[in-house]
């Protein structure tokens, strides 16, 4: 071999994979965080429902806690279940 790679230090960035740019509840970007958090990242993660809709976890929890009877997805009105 003429050239042999000894070591490699890669650089990568991560983004949320979401079907939308913004959270349907707070309308902030998924790049950003929910209104209660200071900075995006691991402290303010996204969650997906089985209906495939995606929100900041803080936003959807607030929404679910405010619902008395049925816990529905605020986007499609199907029953909300967390995607495993």
């Amino acid at each position: 071999m003429k050239v042999k790679i000894k070591s490699w230090r890669g650089v990568a960035v991560w983004k949320w994979i979401a079907n939308d740019d913004n959270c349907g509840i707070c309308r902030n970007g998924f790049d950003g965080c929910c209104p209660d958090c200071k900075m995006p990242g691991d402290e303010c993660p996204l969650v997906w429902g089985q209906c495939s809709h995606c929100f900041h976890i803080h936003c959807i929890m607030k929404w679910l806690n405010s619902q008395n009877v049925h816990q529905l997805c605020p986007m499609c009105r199907q029953e909300w279940k967390f995607k495993e």
């Binding site: 790679i5 000894k6 960035v13 790049d31």
Partner: protein
Amino acid sequence: MSLKPENVDFNEIWSRLRSTIDSVIVLSKVERKEWSERFSDVYKLCVAFPEPLCDRLYAETKAFLNEHVIVLNKAITAQDSATGEDNLLVDYHKQWLVYRDGVNYLNKLYWYLNQQHIKKQKFSDADLSYGCVEVSEQKLEIWELGLHIWRKNMIEPLRDNLIRLLLAAIENDRLGKSTNETVVQGVILSFVNVEEYKKKGSLDLYQEIFEKPFLEATGEYYRKEAEMLLQNSDCSEYMERVLSRLSAENVRSRKYLHPSSFPKVTSECETRMIAEHLQFLHSECKPMVLNNRRKDLQNMYKLLKPVEGGLPVLVKEVQDHITRIGLQAVCNLEGDGVPQAFVENILKVHKDNSNLIREVFSNDQLFIGALDKACATVINHRTVSKQPCKSPELLARYCDSLLKKSTKGMNESEIEERLSQSITVFKYIDDKDVFQKFYAKMLAKRLIHTQSVSMDLEESMINKLKQACGHEFTSKLHRMFTDIKVSEDLNNSFNAYCKDMKVELGGINFNIFVLQAGAWPLAQGAISSFAIPQPLEKCVTNFETFYNSKFNGRKLTFIHHLSMSEVKLCYCKRTYIVTMGTFHMAILLLFESVNSLTYKEIEENTKIADDQLIKHLNSLVESKLLLTSLAESAQVTPETNYSLNLNFVNKRSKFKITTVVQKEVQQQQEVEQTHASVDEDRKLYLQAAIVRIMKARKVIKHNSLMQQVIHQAKNRFTPSVTMIKKCIEALMEKQYLERTPNTTDEYSYVA
């Protein structure tokens, strides 16, 4: 002795009493027995039957004292005219001391009268302070009566002479001739003592008969003195002398006067010698500041401080001077070390003048304020008024140069100290957000290329910035910092994962930085397409699998132009270990089976975008690893040929190919880009501020909105009015707010 009231003969008892008080008042010896008997006599008169004789006793005593003082007065005057006036003060003082004590004793003898008779009819404090009674009607206790009579029959007749002599005596003292201090002070204070019993206005007499003429005389004396000094001395001498006069006069006040007069005397002297010559003193400030005449400046400060309107001129001169030398120190910097020279020169100016202010102006707030204003002017000065100020960039570059590994010969604590000092400069910067942008960019480079001299220093600098400017300001920097630390853990667990799963990475020592997309100032446009070289594929795919198993819903994008590799070159006479960018490596890998390739072939295989590819090829050619058919400065064509330099030699067996050094034009472009992105951020920041204010206020006038927005932004930057206006318009377009109907300058919030 019986305590029972009895019928008494006033005249008989009074004549006994009278002969005793004759002795008491001149402090002659009185036998104890005699004293006791007289004491009871007073009692007897006061409780006499059928009528108590208090009033009569009081009237007779008053008459006695009146007469006694008149006699004394005559004696003093007679003696005086016989021997000349010189002794008036001495005689008066002697008589006063005797009389004062005598009256005190007398008061004790009349204890019963005071207690039972006079105190009862005294007006209460309330009566006095509401002023509904005539004070002169009131009977006085015996000592009060005595003092009152002294004032009336002694001080008032002698007043003019006494004052004239006192003033003359003090003037003598000023001229350095001897005076009888005890006597002068005693006489002056007798004016206070004689009225001491009064609850209100006990200093009136002193102030009226002595203090007022004294202050006038003092003023006149020092007015002349000042004129004389001005004629005979220059400003430095004048100040020295005035200061010594002032302190001498201060001592003199304490020697002769009642404490209430001290500040008045000082202020009188200051008026005559300083306030009345302010113009002269002020005109001398400029040369003193210019020539840094510390002693003079200190004197000037001492003189001007107590005088109204005294200091501002000096403060202004100092501020102008600091601004001037500051600008001299930072303008026209050229060459390589501009950031260093800029920061260090400013720090020197700041330090020198802080010292000056501490040593000469006793850290007076006015001067500290002047220093701050001057430094802010210097630091935010724009050489070209249309262009943004360079200071934020220079300061960021200075920090970069400290925190980059290349810094030689400085240990951590030295760097730390310099970083702390750079915060001093940072605090004066108006456009803190510009600094932040530059700093973030440089920090990103340092972190990704592992060029930081120490992570501890990086962290401590971020914390310093946080302290100076708040959490929000540094949150992005913090996130970058944490990403790097989290990546370390990530690499460890990936290595463990590889071991567990028996994954082989082809003998490549692999590690990675995983960054949060939003937190890093990575130019998105610069990301080029890239065909990952086959040897790296395993690393990439395995890591992606690992990452996706660990984190849900995250998309990973490799940024190859930032990644680095270490490569072993085996085709030369010696083996070399070379650190290079991933693009370099990808290009070199193509030469595995051939020794020569065309530009087109390289491009097709690596898929690197044109501009990047040319740059990287050029740096490989420059480092002599590749040879090219291309003449220098000619355009690259698809047919341009590149071949491997099989005869490559380098003195070192380990070296590094640096990514092409940025050309000046490019650097300039980058600076402009940074400023443009700062402007974008500012607009967002201002819009957010406007919405916050509107949400709270609902309806607000234009001017007041402007003010509040400026106030909120002050900590990060100074917004331009046009920019705020544009933001308001943008928000109206987006229907966050509207003009209140039927008004011209009011906005209301649209919920």
